[in-house]
């Protein structure tokens, strides 16, 4: 069990990590989700012991490890860049942490070959890392992290520099590899979809602060505040100001829509209304979804779906519409909003009510 207790890291006057406490259990996969510069890498370096927190404590199984040098922390780390030892063969690269642990040659050989098998590196064991493709280099780095049987494995955006196909491939393999060991896995990513695919727990970070930590799907469905919701939405969460008046929600820009009845017991006041791109649609998605008129700014087509960027009374929204749509810029379209998916934030950004509902079949 790894515990961070009120950990802060300041460099000069800047807080890179601001008072983070979290507890990671053995055998779990924990995703650190946040945009670039949110503090993901710094947090990992603090967990690894490569950096010392300015204040706070890092504990493994209850005992502080602040004074334990990184060499004796029993951690493994994989970076976004493909980091291997260029002067050693792939075999020696994978074997190097085991050799340092003074394990006998026979079991080193067995473990290296098993890790190589798992990551499909067997044909390349005698090659030098720089003669391999990016994906193979990163698999070598992953093999080196896995072979060690470390108690804590830190993966810092390990797939970010790989091409699309390899990412998909490794992303499928990684959870299987994780499942095999009882280690604590920490996986940093900037992409909400990656966090959702990996499952486990997610910690959302923003500007060095931990905004929420819990089971991935819970954090996604019930963000505690707007910052978390924004961090965990791609395309970005759509937001509009609105005022609740009884059973009516008056949107900034003139729209009047029914207030979601299941949330109706909150006080009448001004709120921030958030909803995700896929809760807007061109055709009514639920019997009581409401139509709003918005102007098309630009359409991004990915193939199976289109991201339609809209302007609603000065607010920039994104709609995810299945299929290819080719609206010219400036056209006014009717979009339908599923009011049961609204998340209501107060003016400070805290969630007041609402969460994303589980899809119903039929």
């Amino acid at each position: 069990m790894l515990e961070l207790v009120n950990v802060s890291k300041r460099v000069g006057n800047e807080a890179h990590i601001d008072d983070i406490s979290m507890r990671l259990e053995r055998g779990t996969l924990n995703v650190l989700l946040g945009p670039t510069l949110a503090g993901k890498t710094t947090l990992m370096r603090l967990m690894a012991g490569l950096e010392r927190p300015t204040s706070g404590d890092v504990r493994v199984d209850g005992a502080s490890v602040l004074d334990v040098p990184v060499q004796r922390r029993n951690v493994a780390m994989v970076y976004q860049q493909f980091i291997n030892y260029p002067s050693m063969t792939v075999y020696d690269n994978i074997a190097s942490p085991l050799r340092l642990a003074r394990i006998d040659a026979a079991s080193i050989d067995r473990r290296v070959r098993r890790a190589a098998e798992l990551l499909r590196l067997t044909p390349f064991l005698d090659r030098l890392p720089l003669s391999l493709s990016g994906g193979q280099q990163q698999r070598t780095a992953l093999a080196r992290a896995i072979v060690k049987d470390a108690g804590l494995v830190l993966l810092d955006e390990p797939l970010a520099n790989l091409d699309y196909k390899l990412r998909e491939e490794l992303r499928e393999e990684l959870p299987k590899i994780f499942a095999e060991s009882g280690a604590i896995y920490v996986y940093a990513t900037t992409e909400p979809s990656e966090a959702l695919l990996l499952g486990g727990n997610t910690a959302t970070l923003s500007q060095g602060r931990l905004t929420q930590f819990g089971p991935t799907i819970d954090v996604y469905r019930r963000p505690v505040d707007l910052v978390t919701a924004r961090t965990f939405s791609d395309p970005p969460m759509n937001v509009v100001h609105g005022t609740k008046a009884g059973h009516v929600l008056e949107l900034e820009g003139g729209g009047r829509i029914p207030f979601p009845p299941e949330l109706a017991d909150i006080a009448d006041a001004g709120y921030l209304i958030g909803f995700r791109a896929h809760h807007l649609s061109l055709t009514p998605s639920a019997p009581d979804s409401v139509a709003l008129s918005a102007r098309v700014n630009v359409v991004e087509i990915t193939g199976s779906e289109s991201f339609v960027h809209l302007d609603y009374a000065g607010q920039q929204w994104v709609m995810l519409a299945p299929g290819i749509h080719d609206f010219e810029t400036g056209r006014i379209v009717d979009v339908h909003l599923d009011i049961h998916q609204l998340i209501i934030f107060d003016h400070t950004g805290r969630t007041v009510a609402g969460h994303e509902r589980v899809a119903k079949v039929g």
Binding site: L50, Q71, Y79, I83, P86, S87, S96, P97, L100
Partner: protein
């Protein structure tokens, strides 16, 4: 115009090579022939000068002591600069940038400025007239240069490699020798080359800090010329032999130097 394109480089190369050719030419002549007339190649070809240099201890000891202090200096410079350059490349500390620049200012003064203090300091501790005296004196110029070159190469290695090694369990010395030095091998090669060359061609300190026992070849050449008249053939042959080590070293590190230039630190 196009047909004359070869002309300028050819003139340039002839200009560069002519003195070297003339030196080689003279080294195979007798002193009488050199003084007697002007000929583009030796009329009485002789290798007597070379035989004299390679058999007479006064001569070849000059080479031995030169090579001794040059190698000593190269080893000391590289060994001291490796950790220094690593610190400049990896750590931020108070005044690091100023210190880094200050290193370079050591190269701005002419060596002659330091001849006198070195002479007295080394005499005081009994280092005068030893290869160590010259080797240490040359460090004044070579260590700053070596630190600069090595820092450039080291900064080209991502610091994540260092951290990965520590995470894997490497201690710092083990990591440095086993992982890091192979990565900057070409940088070490280039650095050693520059230290070698500067130390090899520097004459003033080398002459002032030695008397008899550790006399460098450059000093031997001037002295021989003054005592036994003008032995020009002998001097030419000694000159040729002085060029050879440098040429050999350049040949071996020529590819690395290109890499050093590409990194912008040579």
């Amino acid at each position: 115009m196009r047909r004359l394109r070869w002309l300028v480089p050819t003139i340039y190369i002839v200009f560069l090579l002519l003195p070297i050719y003339w030196l080689v030419n003279m080294s195979f002549k007798t002193t009488n022939e050199i003084l007697g007339g002007f000929s583009a190649w030796p009329q009485n070809f002789t290798i007597a000068s070379y035989v004299e240099i390679l058999t007479n201890p006064v001569w070849y000891n000059g080479y031995i002591s030169s090579i001794t202090y040059v190698v000593l200096n190269t080893v000391i410079s590289v060994a001291v600069s490796l950790p220094a350059a690593y610190a400049f490349s990896r750590y931020r500390f108070l005044g690091d940038k100023h210190l880094f620049f200050w290193l370079l200012t050591n190269r701005m003064a002419p060596p002659a400025v330091f001849a006198l203090p070195f002479y007295q300091l080394y005499s005081a501790i009994g280092l005068f007239d030893t290869p160590f005296a010259v080797a240490l004196a040359h460090c004044l110029f070579n260590i700053p240069l070596a630190v600069w070159i090595l820092e450039g190469f080291m900064s080209g290695v991502p610091k994540e490699i260092d951290e990965t090694a520590y995470v894997d369990g490497y201690s710092f010395p083990h990591f440095f020798v086993r992982i890091f030095m192979p990565l900057i091998a070409s940088g070490i090669g280039v650095t050693a080359f520059f230290c070698f060359m500067f130390s090899w061609v520097e004459m003033l300190l080398a002459k002032s800090l030695t008397a008899v026992a550790a006399k460098p070849i450059a000093a031997v050449m001037t002295r021989t010329a003054s005592t036994s008249g003008y032995e020009l053939g002998l001097l030419a042959a000694a000159g040729v032999l002085t060029i050879i080590p440098g040429a050999l070293v350049i040949y071996f590190v020529r590819n690395y130097i290109a890499k050093g230039f590409a990194l912008g630190r040579v």
